[in-house]
């Protein structure tokens, strides 16, 4: 007689709670895709958050570009947190795949893995097609100015969670093996480049002007700028103003004065976030 035991699985009630929570998460999630937390900090209170971003109005199968982080630690690393990243997500913002850099320590709670007080770390995260959130700390960047890639693999299908599309995350070279795989429910969607800052009662950290793409991009080839992936054509295309999109910021709680601005230089070949009144 063949025996099947399922001692460790979810009970029906748990599954129900899980499904409800996933649904709620979908309603709460916004198109902005903040990365996740860092190690527990010594600060207290609820963190304040602010995001500046550039978001496409078109769908694409991936995004790539250099992420350049400033050298040195952020101000007040025990209570501040910074991240800048690129991501592709579904149209409702409930599923995404993301890769980026983080530094700092979050006020506690909340806390979580993925950051370090004084050095930038590579992370990837996302909510997959099953509604599960995953985050991985990939360790130190190879250098302070390296390319990162999120691209649809061409593999898709349907499983117990529904439709899935597999994305490869690579770093340093598009010829390298992926450092991780992630799954969302669509093969293409809007994409975003974003900078996120969090603080508790202290001042907003200086972002140190993280860049997406090279600041001197007019002298650099396409590979150094931000680009979006056209899977059917097999091309990476430079992200310029002709692709449309939105530049903006969101703060939490709302009503805060904008501290960071999204700046675009060199005919949109490079982007950077700046703490200040204007670009």
């Amino acid at each position: 007689v063949n025996v099947f035991r399922f001692a460790g699985g979810l009970r029906a009630a748990q599954i129900f709670v899980f499904l409800i929570s996933v649904a709620a998460g979908g309603l709460l999630a916004t198109a902005i895709l903040p990365p996740q937390g860092a190690d527990a900090g010594s600060c207290s209170g609820s963190p304040q958050k602010q995001w500046v971003f550039r978001q496409s109005s078109l769908a694409a199968y991936g995004i790539d570009g250099y992420l350049r982080h400033p050298s040195g630690a952020i101000s007040d690393p025990s209570c501040n947190f910074l991240a800048h990243f690129i991501a592709v997500f579904n149209s409702s913002g409930t599923k995404w795949v993301q890769v980026g850099l983080t530094i700092g320590v979050l006020p506690s709670p909340p806390d979580g893995p993925g950051g370090a007080p004084t050095t930038y770390k590579i992370y990837s995260d996302g909510i997959n097609h099953c509604g599960t959130y995953n985050l991985v700390n990939h360790g130190d960047p190879t250098s302070s100015n390296r390319p990162y890639y999120i691209s649809y693999s061409g593999q898709s299908g349907t499983d117990g969670c529904g439709s899935w599309a597999k994305f490869n995350i690579r770093k340093d070279s598009w010829l390298n093996q992926p450092i991780w795989y992630r799954y969302i429910d669509v093969a293409s969607g809007p994409w975003i480049a974003e900078n996120e800052a969090l603080k508790d009662s202290t001042a907003w950290p200086d972002t140190g002007q993280p860049w997406w793409g090279h600041e001197s991009a007019t002298t650099w080839p396409l590979a150094y700028g931000l680009a979006w992936y056209n899977y059917s054509a097999g091309t990476w295309n430079e992200w310029t103003s002709t692709q449309g999109g939105t530049t903006g910021y969101i703060s939490d709680p709302s009503g805060q004065t904008q501290q960071y601005r999204w700046c675009v230089d060199s005919v949109n070949r490079a982007h950077h976030a700046l703490k200040g009144a204007s670009c």
């Binding site: 999630a29 190690d39 963190p47 909340p110 979580g112 499983d159 969670c161 899935w164 598009w174 990476w236």
Partner: protein, 371 residues
């Protein structure tokens, strides 16, 4: 499937030998002997208490991309740092401290990392465009090869940026008595590397294989389902949606997410695993003795079984839910999600030993065994 006669022609391999033989000049030595956490039962609330943490590489930020048991049942694994530094690690069976050696050079890390035992007790390690043979008994690197990215047998667009998955890194490694077979992403060839590092094309293929497996003791270069339908693999992730294992005539394990079920055909007959869903990213590992393990990460659980017994058990993974790990208490506010949504620790590698032992690594850079 292509079955290869070892007398096949020897042609250029497209490799550049960084150093065919290392007489110890680039040897690594045991570096580390304390952080193994050997033998301690994982005390986290979630997860089965039989899951034991046997190594923790989080301090050095090394992902464990590949685990293997040797013929004696000892556990070995490969760690890789983001900067490309790889290490070979051994967990002594007597509960002694972790033994550890750094491999020379660097390679871009990722899940396409391989670790196979050579017939003489040395180990082959492959990752990205690098291949090593290392003898831990002498701490000598015997072979260190770097593959050229370009190859005459590469498929069209293999190294072009716009391809869906460009690159020609190693995607399969299979040991033989005195050599290893090797396959590469986007390259239509099956290659062989001898113990001394000499390499050659063993067989030109009509397609670029997705990996290598041993079927009835012979190498099989398998294609993705998109190319050839459901294929066979001794140990693989189900990135290509469907995978199967076929070691002997009387045991097979099949994962087919499209059918949301897994089946085991054992000596006692065929039965279903209760209709449990397999999903994209789940993995299968099967040991030489017929034991198998299937990750069902969304449960999150691992299914354990034995081909001969037909008995399947679900084992809850640690860290499968929010709050199960001290480092995973929150983050949900940041992502605008309620805590119940769940933060999951991902299984990175899984292996089954000759006696059915199971070990796996997860995304927190730790290695576990199932007691």
């Amino acid at each position: 499937m292509i079955r290869v006669d070892r007398k096949s022609r020897w042609l250029g391999f497209g490799m550049v030998a960084l150093a065919g033989l290392f007489a110890g000049a680039l040897l690594s030595r045991p570096l580390w002997s304390s952080a193994a956490d050997g033998g301690s039962v994982d005390e986290r609330q979630a997860g089965d208490p039989r899951i034991v943490t046997v190594a923790d590489l989080s301090a050095t930020e090394e992902q464990v991309y590949r685990i293997a048991y040797d013929q004696a049942g000892d556990l070995w694994f490969v760690g890789a740092r983001s900067d490309g530094q790889f290490s070979l690690n051994h967990i002594p069976p007597d509960g002694g401290p972790l033994e550890r050696w750094l491999l020379p050079g660097k390679a871009s890390p990722g899940p396409s990392t391989f670790l196979v035992e050579a017939g003489d007790g040395s180990w082959w390690v492959a990752a990205n465009y690098s291949l090593w043979r290392f003898d831990p008994r002498t701490a000598q690197t015997l072979v260190a090869l770097a593959l050229d990215v370009s190859h005459p047998l590469q498929t069209e667009g293999a190294t072009e940026r716009g391809a869906p998955l460009p690159g020609t890194w190693v995607n399969g490694l299979l040991p033989t008595e005195d050599a290893v077979f090797l396959t590469r992403n986007n390259v239509r060839g099956l290659f062989q590397v001898l113990e001394n590092g000499e390499s050659a094309l063993a067989e030109e293929l009509a397609y670029a294989p997705a990996g290598l497996a041993s079927v009835d003791g012979r190498p099989v270069a398998f294609a993705s389902p998109a190319q050839m339908g459901i294929e066979t693999a001794a140990s693989s992730s189900s990135d290509d949606l469907a995978l199967a294992y076929a070691e002997t005539q009387d045991c097979s394990v099949t994962l087919s997410p499209a059918e949301a079920s897994a089946t085991v055909a054992g000596a006692a007959g065929t039965f279903s695993l209760g209709g449990l869903p397999a999903r994209a990213g789940d993995m299968v590992a099967v040991g030489s003795g017929g034991g198998f393990a299937i990750t069902l990460q969304e449960q999150p659980a691992i299914l354990l079984g034995d081909c001969g017994m037909g008995d399947v058990e679900s084992l809850a993974l640690p860290g499968g839910t929010v709050g199960s790990d001290p480092r995973l208490r929150g983050g949900h506010q940041l992502q605008n999600l309620p805590p119940e949504t769940g933060t999951r620790i991902e299984v990175v590698a899984i292996a089954v030993g000759p006696s059915g032992q199971v070990a796996f690594s997860d995304s927190t850079m730790r290695v576990f065994t199932v007691d």
